[in-house]
């Protein structure tokens, strides 16, 4: 190979690398990148019907720990109650209406982004602070926690499957409750802090969004100067801005005045009571001098009048839809990607189906670096779930070739696809890549060395 040819090759390589850097620089200036469990990818999620019935059933079940009682990742921990120095495990339930209201405040009780049609598939809703899905689960979702810096199965379930997402959100809320008395104050010094009383969940609800104090950044303290005063109660009608209220008042407002879908309230209204901020008891409890762990001086009585709601059912309704028996199905098991012409595409879309019931969360990983899976997780609805949107016809995994990592013009890799909510062996797909081609330009002549 002579010097002229060597220089030519160098110029070509540097030009393309330079172009690559400029374009990525522009791209970086205009693209906000994520640092959440799935990085820049958004797993696909199933969005139920506009009436939210599926989510409400899931919440009713989660409130009473009926969804995944044997799965430590998603089971509701046994709730405690009692006074500060007399705490005991009661095994009570979380009031379902409280959870429904939280889900509404967080995402209007939706699992996928706004552009997703009801009864369809779309990108999972992920906020910039890594809140995922209906309950905006952030705990454990800010970094990939699986092997080789990949997301874990639990993270995939939380991000794609509304039942698991709701279960996890309820588990987190239960943990906030159980933080008392060690690192949380108690509401209900006069009612044994019973879990069934909605008003007793005031501090746990505050903590679900961040137990931030008077003067803090993102404060949820009801007397913080950043909130208007006097302020009308939050009406949950979409006509009031969220930044005028501490989080727990948003939730209380939606419990009192539930949102409606097509004129029908999503749940029966409960006239829940807020703490009286100007009673000496509450005002002293909330003062800045008491805002430090274990927050013992912040314990207060149950705001009166207090309320309970109908005990949630002790059986799982709609089990076939909420959990079901999914069966992952990925035919065919071999694909070839030919990159032997300028017009060739460098990917293949592999359809992924669920021939069983319920939702199948699926995950995919490649055995080789030159095959990239996109997205790395998704959801496949079974036939017993309504999935009528156009997006339902295109449940697929895109496998892309990174040509810079191809070891040779003919290479093979294996993609493993498995479901974290099924007991099945991973399904393996063989991908053959054929990339034997020549670079020419019109009018040029072939040079040979």
């Amino acid at each position: 190979m002579n010097n002229s040819s060597h220089r030519t090759k160098s110029i070509l390589v540097f030009s393309v690398v330079g172009l690559y850097l400029v374009l990525f620089g522009a791209s970086a200036l205009t693209t906000k990148t994520y640092a959440c469990a799935f990085g820049a990818y958004r797993p696909a999620a199933y969005e139920g019907g506009e009436n939210r019935l599926l989510y409400i059933h899931a919440i009713d079940a989660a409130a009473n720990n009926l969804l995944f009682p044997q799965d430590a990742r998603f089971a509701l921990d046994r709730l405690e109650q009692g006074t500060r120095y007399n705490r005991y495990v009661s095994g009570g339930y979380v009031p379902p209406t409280l959870i429904k209201s939280i889900a509404w405040v967080e995402t209007k009780m939706t699992m996928a982004t706004k552009s997703t049609a009801w009864n369809g598939l779309g990108d999972s809703v992920i906020s910039f602070d890594c809140g995922h899905g209906v309950m905006q689960v952030t705990t454990g979702m800010t970094n990939p926690l699986g092997e080789n810096s990949q997301p874990s199965d639990a993270q995939a379930l939380i991000s794609t499957h509304f039942t698991y997402n709701i279960a996890k959100g309820v588990k987190i809320l239960g943990a906030k409750w159980n933080n008392a008395p060690q690192i949380s104050p108690i509401v209900g010094t006069d009612t044994d802090s019973q879990t069934e009383i909605l008003e007793n969940w005031y501090y746990a609800t505050w903590a679900y969004n961040g137990f931030t104090g008077y003067g803090s950044y993102s404060s949820n303290h009801p007397l913080d100067p950043s909130f208007a005063w006097p302020r009308s109660q939050y009406s949950c009608s979409g006509t009031q801005s969220h930044n005028e209220f501490p989080y727990q008042e948003l939730v209380w407002g939606c419990i009192k005045k539930p949102p409606t879908i097509n004129g029908n309230p999503l749940w029966p209204a409960i006239p829940i009571t807020l703490p009286d901020l100007f009673s000496t008891e509450v005002n002293r409890a909330l003062s800045p001098g008491n805002f430090y762990p274990p927050y013992a001086n912040m314990d207060i009585k149950t705001p009166a009048p207090w309320h309970t709601e109908v005990t949630p059912a002790n059986f799982l309704q709609e089990e076939a839809k909420l959990i079901g028996r999914p069966i992952l199905s990925v035919p065919p098991r071999s694909h070839t990607i030919r990159m032997n012409s300028p017009a060739a595409v460098t990917w293949v879309d592999v359809p992924i189906r669920n021939s069983g019931s319920g939702l199948s969360t699926w995950r995919a990983k490649s055995s080789v670096g030159f095959l990239v899976v996109n997205p790395p997780a998704g959801i496949a609805p079974g036939s017993n779930l309504t999935c009528t949107a156009a997006s339902c016809d295109t449940t697929s995994l895109r496998i892309e070739v990174n040509p810079t990592l191809l070891p040779a013009s003919y290479a093979t890799g294996v993609i493993s696809i498995w479901s974290p909510n099924e007991k099945n062996t991973p399904i393996e797909i063989t991908i053959n890549v054929v990339a034997d081609f020549e670079l020419t330009f019109p009018g040029s002549s072939k040079n040979s060395d």
Partner: protein, 402 residues
């Protein structure tokens, strides 16, 4: 991204052919590659320019010159800026729309300075629940907007300096609060207060009469006024406002005094009541403005000329409320009409102190305030004019649109 893929594709082809020792090149090929690179760089710069360009927003100037109040009205995905002229309070005019993140209203800086307004907004694409947003300046003559800062805490209202050359706002860096002074002409930012380890929070307060910056600082043992440090020394804690809760603090137009609400106990309940303090860094005990008083008090503000302290009051138990005007030892009041329930919360005066903008609630007290709407009250006649029926309005202030 298409161009990225194209470049990867080209790179791949070249690489693969090099691997198989079959590279085809020519001078024309080099020229073609060079041309492609140049064009791509040009496109990249165009993309950069496009994304940094402030798009045009629809702007409607007020129909005719004249003074009035400027305010915003909340909608789930955008806020509307309205002008209501003194010449006819019914002739409220929509000037422009500010898009924002769903359910997060804009937060105005109180006051119109050099025909400009400043406000905080959580931008439309930002879908998290954290209160970090952007600080914008809007020219009321042209409708042009300028982005001043991308890091303010939208939970804290920005404030103007008296001469209108700077804006003060709060931001958070690595979980530590900072108060920032932004000079408008140069857009230079200076941090003038940093949250200490044992402080729970900072709020900008304003300038004293000698030009020093004061701010409110919250500790576990109470709320204090602190003064900006002029050197490398620790900032000075000047005096204590309260052992518990304060709010609605502001400095008088001449920079010599401040007013604020703090909680006091009366008849085994707590009420917010107005306190007055001198703006200096001497130990002092602020005093209750209205003395021992069985009233719940709201939103004390200063009038711009007489520096009258204007307070909303509600006499507990008798459902009679009024706006109290205190100027030294003189007390005046603007009663609420006998047939109108509820209470008034003063917001801002007109520049000539002829008109007071209030939010009028129809409930009994702050515990159950009911529905609030903004009204203009003619100080001389006591006549009230409803400006907007929406309970979700935010006020910029009086604009002399001449």
């Amino acid at each position: 991204m298409f161009l990225c893929n194209a470049s990867i594709y080209l790179q791949t082809k070249i690489y693969l052919n090099m691997k198989t020792f079959r590279i085809y090149s020519s001078q024309r090929a080099l020229l073609a590659i060079g041309g492609l690179v140049t064009i791509s760089i040009g496109i990249a710069f165009l993309v950069l320019a496009l994304f940094s360009w402030n798009p045009e927003y629809q702007w409607v100037s007020p129909a005719s010159p004249g003074s009035g109040f400027l305010y915003s009205r909340f909608n789930p995905n955008y806020d509307e800026i309205y002008f209501t002229p003194k010449s006819d309070w019914d002739e409220t005019q929509l000037l422009t729309v500010i898009e924002h993140s769903p359910n997060f209203s804009i937060v105005p800086a109180r006051g119109i300075v050099n025909n400009s307004i400043a406000f905080l907004v959580k931008p439309p694409g930002n879908m998290d629940t954290l209160p970090t947003g952007e600080l914008w300046l809007l020219d009321l003559k042209t409708g042009k907007r300028n982005l001043l800062a991308s890091d303010p805490d939208i939970g804290v209202k920005p404030i103007w300096t008296r001469d209108g050359t700077h804006l003060m706002y709060r931001r958070v860096r690595q979980q530590v609060q900072e108060l920032v002074e932004l000079e408008l002409s140069t857009q230079t930012r200076t941090v003038y207060a940093v949250q200490r380890d044992y402080s729970q929070g900072l709020f900008p307060l304003g300038e004293g009469n000698l030009g020093s910056q004061y701010y409110v600082e919250i500790f576990s043992n109470g709320v204090f006024v602190s003064k900006r440090s002029e050197s490398e020394t620790e900032p000075e804690i000047c005096f204590k406002l309260s052992d518990t809760f304060v709010r609605d603090f502001s400095i008088s137009p001449d920079g010599q005094k401040m007013i604020y609400l703090q909680t006091v106990i009366q008849s085994e309940r707590l009420f917010f009541q107005t306190y007055l303090a001198e703006i200096n860094c001497r130990d002092q005990r602020p005093r209750a403005l209205l003395g021992e008083n069985q009233t719940e008090q709201y939103s004390p503000i200063w009038s711009p000329i007489e520096q009258t302290v204007t307070i909303g009051t509600n006499i507990i138990g008798r459902q009679k409320s009024s706006i109290m005007l205190s100027n030294g030892d003189l007390l005046d009041f603007i009663p609420i009409p006998p047939d109108q329930p509820g209470f008034d919360v003063p917001i801002v005066w007109s520049h000539d102190e002829d008109y007071l903008l209030t939010k009028s609630f129809d409930g009994l007290s702050s515990a159950n305030p009911g529905y609030g709407m903004i009204y203009v009250i003619n100080r001389e006649t006591g006549m009230r004019y409803k400006v907007d029926e929406s309970p979700e309005t935010r006020i910029f202030g009086w604009w002399s649109n001449e």
